[in-house]
Amino acid sequence: MDIKNIFYRIKDFVLHYGKLSYDFLFTDEKEEKSVIEQVEERAEIPESYLQRFRLHPLQEANQLQGRDEELAMMQRAYENWKISRSPLLIVGEFGAGMTSLLNAGTHIYPHAKILENKSNISTSDELVTELKKGLNYPEARTLKDLNTLPKQDNEQVIIFENIERLFLRKIHGFNLLEDFLLLIHATKKDIFWVATINQYSYYYLNQVIGFGSNFLSVIRLNPIKKELIEEVITERNKGYECVYLKPATLSGTLAQQLKSADASNKQELLKNDFFNKLHTFAGGNISQAMLFWKRSVAYIKEKRVYVKAYEPKPIGQLSLEELFVLEAILQHTSLSNQELYAILRNSNKGSKLILEKLMENDLLYAKYYEGEFEPEYQINLLHLNAVKAQIHARLNRNIK
């Protein structure tokens, strides 16, 4: 931990305890009222505007910004495969834009087939069904059949998204992933395999079963630069004028500067302050940046967007059990209650109760996939940083 980080932790500690005592002594009804007002204000934002900031993967390469380096690395990995026949692994954070990158990467290998794995795959039958589509081999019934694929005329490129969906952290829960890795090795001569994985799963699997050693080429998605994120947000606000409002908490220096600045300079200062806060919050994650912007829009009037920097609500000290649940979800991207029960080896009702509590605190949200009756739970991106920080500090995990 560097000195800057320690300083911020101490500051947080002092602020946290200071705020607790302040709240205890001085909180009154006014604050609650202001929260209600904020909710009402948010309701006024037109849906057409919010649509601009919806989180969805980009389909075209020209829409993707700030990923030139990663695209060049993908190109190099493909060239390398022609010689060394080694598969490629792409590691990234939630919401860092891995799917967008893969979509953009299709111009490198136009005949690539993308296999999206949204929900967990727990049996080899499910995996075979999924792979049959991509490999264009409907006769295959087992993974062994797929190991002996008939040779195709063209080079095949298979992109297997979210490889972490193939394992479940339980005894015998790694079998399917190991079988799939064996399949990759058996067919890598003829197929260029590209797999993606979230960085928490990668960290875990790498440490416990040496997962990373199966891939000679590994690309890690870098955080997007502050200027680029600002550019993307400005682009999405086309047709609107942005007015930056004074944030709820103002630093002493900024307050002094605002006092002596004229109207246009004030806007410039507030804009800089806003994007600094956005960057601190998102840390180069485009999805988190979009969420921050959406949360920051106070109201819209006559093509003018009034923006007030969003201040995340502190999540407080989580219990050990809650942290274990959140860590398990991070490692698997999303989990159903049944899967969580199998992972944590506690009672079904016990894990359900923890999930409900975390949902109430806005740390998780439930997602229903097609054909699934039970929801899967995912981490709320708004609190991802805070959750990560607590897992790092309290569970001593060497990943941030």
Binding site: H16, Y17, H172, H392
Partner: protein, 355 residues
């Protein structure tokens, strides 16, 4: 011989035999030893000389002078003896007044208030360290190990400041005081002093620190406090064992984590001798790597040992690190439970029952 006789039976001014009076003088009054020895040697030598030569009148003269000196000394001492009670009284009064100057009620009050203040300060710093340790869990042990050192430093500074400002002793007094108090403490409070020195040794030599998991004389648990006199250990059944520091420094100490947050846990599983080692290895390994308490940064190993003492059995040892030494038992229990369930499902524990 006449002269010798004269000396022997020489009468002083009080009309008493001189030679006999010599011993009386020495016994009754504390005359100068040098004078007395000189006198004796001189007398002996004189006798020898006189035995050979009876005409040494000079010797007699010097002897007379010496005798006069002795008589004068005796008179002075007698006069002084009369003055002693008065002087003793004066000295006593003087000492009393000095003592009341040194230990006044104001000074005692100052010491009490300062001690209470320092005690509260140590409680405050302890609370601060605990809160910091909670907030910075990864650095918990580093923070907690400062706690006993701070307490010792606070007390040493307070005692030094109080002594120097209230009593302002000279260096000689200070050394004398330290020497005499060490002697007094050595006799009166041997055990307490042993414990205090033991405490200081533990704090500065650091065989273990706050947060370490140690085993002393069968008491295994987490060190929660290192005090000046005692050390507190929180055992796995959540009872606090207080061990005097003097005992600790003379015992063998086993330290499980030595200042690190994590520690190795060995989980023992007992199997029938004819098990399928490959299946068991996979289950045992996966039971460890899937545990929520595992420190995933360190390797897990599974070892097999055969035993034939009472009945043939295989001991499977799972060696892994727990993410925090506090969850050691939780980890062992979790791994055992998961392995047992999976082994039962694989039909391995059933065969134990058949045996």
């Amino acid at each position: 011989m006449k002269i010798f006789y004269k000396i022997l039976f020489f009468k002083n001014i009080e009309n008493k035999y001189y030679f006999l009076n010599l011993f009386k003088c020495k016994n009754f009054i504390n005359i100068n030893n040098k004078h007395f020895i000189f006198l004796l040697i001189f007398t002996c030598c004189s006798f020898q000389v006189l035995a050979q030569n009876d005409s040494l009148e000079l010797v007699i003269d010097s002897l007379k002078k010496e005798v006069k000196n002795v008589v004068n000394d005796t008179t002075n001492v007698a006069e002084k003896a009369e003055q002693v009670p008065g002087e003793v009284r004066d000295n006593l009064n003087d000492a009393l007044s000095k003592a009341t100057k040194i230990i006044s009620p104001a000074k005692i009050l100052t010491i009490i208030i300062a001690s209470i203040f320092v005690w509260l300060t140590t409680k405050g710093t302890n609370w601060m360290y605990r809160s910091l340790a909670d907030s910075f869990n990864r650095h918990r042990l580093r923070i907690l190990r400062l706690q006993p050192i701070t307490n010792v430093i606070l007390w040493v500074i307070t005692i030094y400041v109080l002594v120097m400002t209230l009593f302002n002793p000279t260096p000689e007094t200070l050394w004398a005081l330290m020497g005499s108090s060490a002697l007094a403490l050595g006799f009166a409070a041997q055990d307490i002093v042993k414990n205090i020195f033991g405490g200081l040794l533990i704090i500065f030599d650091r065989p273990f620190q706050v947060g370490d998991r140690i085993d002393i004389n069968g008491n295994y648990g987490e060190v929660v406090r290192i005090g000046i006199r005692n050390t507190d250990i929180n055992t796995s059944d959540d009872s606090i064992v207080t061990i005097p520091n003097s005992k600790i420094i003379s015992e063998h100490i086993s330290n499980a984590n030595s200042g690190a947050l994590d520690c190795m846990v060995v989980v023992d599983l007992w199997m029938p001798i004819g098990i399928d080692a490959e299946v068991v290895r996979k289950i045992a390994f996966e039971a460890a790597i899937t545990s929520r308490y595992l420190n995933i940064d360190k390797a897990v190993s599974v070892l097999f040992f055969d035993h034939f003492a009472n009945y043939p059995a295989t001991n499977v040892k799972i060696k892994a690190y727990v993410l925090d030494a506090r969850y050691e038992k939780g980890f062992a229990g979790d791994v055992t439970e998961a392995a047992k369930k999976a082994l039962s499902e694989a039909g391995i524990y059933q065969s134990v029952r058949q045996m």
